[in-house]
Symmetry: C2
Subunit: 429 residues, 2 copies
Amino acid sequence: MTTYAQMTTEELQSELASLQDAYNGFKAKGLSLNMARGKPASSQLDLSMPMLDIMTSTSDPHAADGSDLRNYGVLDGLPEAKELMASMLEDDPANVIVFGNSSLNIMYDTIARLWMFGTQGSTPWCKLDSVKFICPVPGYDRHFGVTQEFGIEMIPVPMNEDGPDMDAVEKLAAEDAAVKGIWCVPKYSNPGGVTYSDEVVRRLASMKTAAEDFRIMWDNAYTVHHLSADPAQQDQLLDIAKACAEAGTTERYYKFASTSKVTLPGAGIAAMAASPANIAEVKKRMGVQTIGHDKINQMRHVLFLKDAQGIAEHMAKHAAIIAPKFELVLSKLESGLAECGVGTWTKPRGGYFVSFDAAEGTAKRVVALAKEAGVTMTGAGATWPYKNDPQDSNIRIAPTLPPLEELDQALDVFVVCVKLAAVEKLLAA
Amino acid sequence: MTTYAQMTTEELQSELASLQDAYNGFKAKGLSLNMARGKPASSQLDLSMPMLDIMTSTSDPHAADGSDLRNYGVLDGLPEAKELMASMLEDDPANVIVFGNSSLNIMYDTIARLWMFGTQGSTPWCKLDSVKFICPVPGYDRHFGVTQEFGIEMIPVPMNEDGPDMDAVEKLAAEDAAVKGIWCVPKYSNPGGVTYSDEVVRRLASMKTAAEDFRIMWDNAYTVHHLSADPAQQDQLLDIAKACAEAGTTERYYKFASTSKVTLPGAGIAAMAASPANIAEVKKRMGVQTIGHDKINQMRHVLFLKDAQGIAEHMAKHAAIIAPKFELVLSKLESGLAECGVGTWTKPRGGYFVSFDAAEGTAKRVVALAKEAGVTMTGAGATWPYKNDPQDSNIRIAPTLPPLEELDQALDVFVVCVKLAAVEKLLAA
């Protein structure tokens, strides 16, 4: 078969007509489908409903150390909860703080503290003329939202198959003291599903930084979120804490994780890990901000998930639900797009997204076409700082929320929109 | 009987000897008692245990508007939860945002937003050379902790029986544009138990402020925390929102409340209310910080407390537990101290504290003596900015946490310590 690029104008016009027919057929169905949101499906949430039976009026409301879970106190999290989250963060419980339900909130507060107070004696970032952050692209829109909120200048750096382009990252970090950090989703990245190679992690840990207070925001959101329960099919990530310890850059990283996509996104628990000096600093400052987080909910998680093994078993149940959705995405893209030579996409082994690159200059058009046909996608450009994708090609596909049969329909619409936009573009050229 | 002030040196020396005997007797008992913390007693927490049975694996996990309580979303709180908290905040649910478990955290974040971003177009406070806050004293140490964290200069203003000294407040607010706000616990204040009069509320709302972005931090922590279920024995507070609306200063206030001392301090819900413009601003900024708070816990509170009537009935059960503790404090102070003429104290109708003024220059000594005899009090000076009580006289008594029989013992010790310190002081003069 001929790819679109090889087609004559007549062939393209005929293809356009047939695509428009198909597209109008979808529009006539009055669909309302959604592939925009990295949200667990209802069936995934059901997996954690037994957690709601764990703390009742007849439960012992005390932690092992005697703390009353119901009363004030315990700033940095129950010892039991620290241990549980330490297993996700691959760190020592002593280096862990357990917070409320949102790791985004922890990350925001971490940037806010750096902004208002600095760290380890450095100048607060709000006192500087210019603060810049390295943003691997495509990346997570809410990370970019936080840095933009503070007026931090975001510098995009391309993602390769083993993580961010480290030559570019090293150059930026070494040459400009205003470059204060980097956003990383190091495992099953959002949206590409990339896991950083050991070499990339080591280079991040050991690179020269002009700023003494350069910080790696290590958002390990998908650390246990494999699409297969078979360890051979799971990515492994080198721990940034270990790499920094080896490189002698112990204060460089903050690690974040949560149970949002393990138990319940609205009612999970989130945590951070960092060096002893950084953890001490955070505790001191957060002791002014709050008396402590919800210990009953921490205990629910401890009793429900138990430990790393319990988490792995629970995640296998998630994988059984979402892996078929990822398979469907890949097979629909392959069958619909490969032969016409339009688009490229990632094939992740975990996480929540497939990153799709449409024909250059067509992503916005694809998303608009899909919207008009009743299929909501993440906004084109959302994966770039300032929502500005200079190639206008990247689209994040989030297959977890819709049931399989809806996803199937939504992908059919999406594929037609991608092709339609590509043909329109070629005809306009 | 002769008061200490009227005693001769010989009489004081004899009194000293007898007090020392009594004190040593207490010390010999090896007590470990605590009147330091404004924490509910275990028996109060038990009142809310049925709340833990309300959301189980068989409950419908949806809000009335169809939102899945378990998934991401609903930034500003469930409509049901906004309605519940609006009843505590005496405001329209549309002007309410429901957060996580800590109103202190909301207040900190509110100051942080003003610090980093300003409000309604004003200059961010971090860009100013000097920011000052009015702090009625005695006041809540954690309020002072937040302002101190930001390097905001705290100006103490005396509390009268009807609220802060408004002549002093008006002068400070009118004359200095660096004075950006005031901390208020307007009902059953911490620690004095004072409720602001309507006139004080109106003067706060209508006073001239040199700063356009002057803000009243209206921490209505004890709004439903009466010591009696009889409305005639309960204080009434004029709503600051109404007063500001009448005065045309709609953006001046932020109101805060929580269920920390209604249900469970570690696992309650907290909320703020403000003008539509301020609420819109907060929502816009917090939308960068988080996706939303724990909606399952919000729903637990809705189903358990129901409405204003449900809250009142629940608070009557708290009152039945803590009112006898307050009565014991007052009767022990009266019987132990009145005739020797040492000390003055408040007689609150609600809240969590009694404010005690020892003989000038003796508060630190009293707290140290009590500590040595096994009775922990809130640190002397804690009720003042920078922990600096220039009279060294104020001590906060927190009677709720210990059981009655322990409180009884602790008060006996406290009374002897107050007298001992007073006699020592007179003899040293």
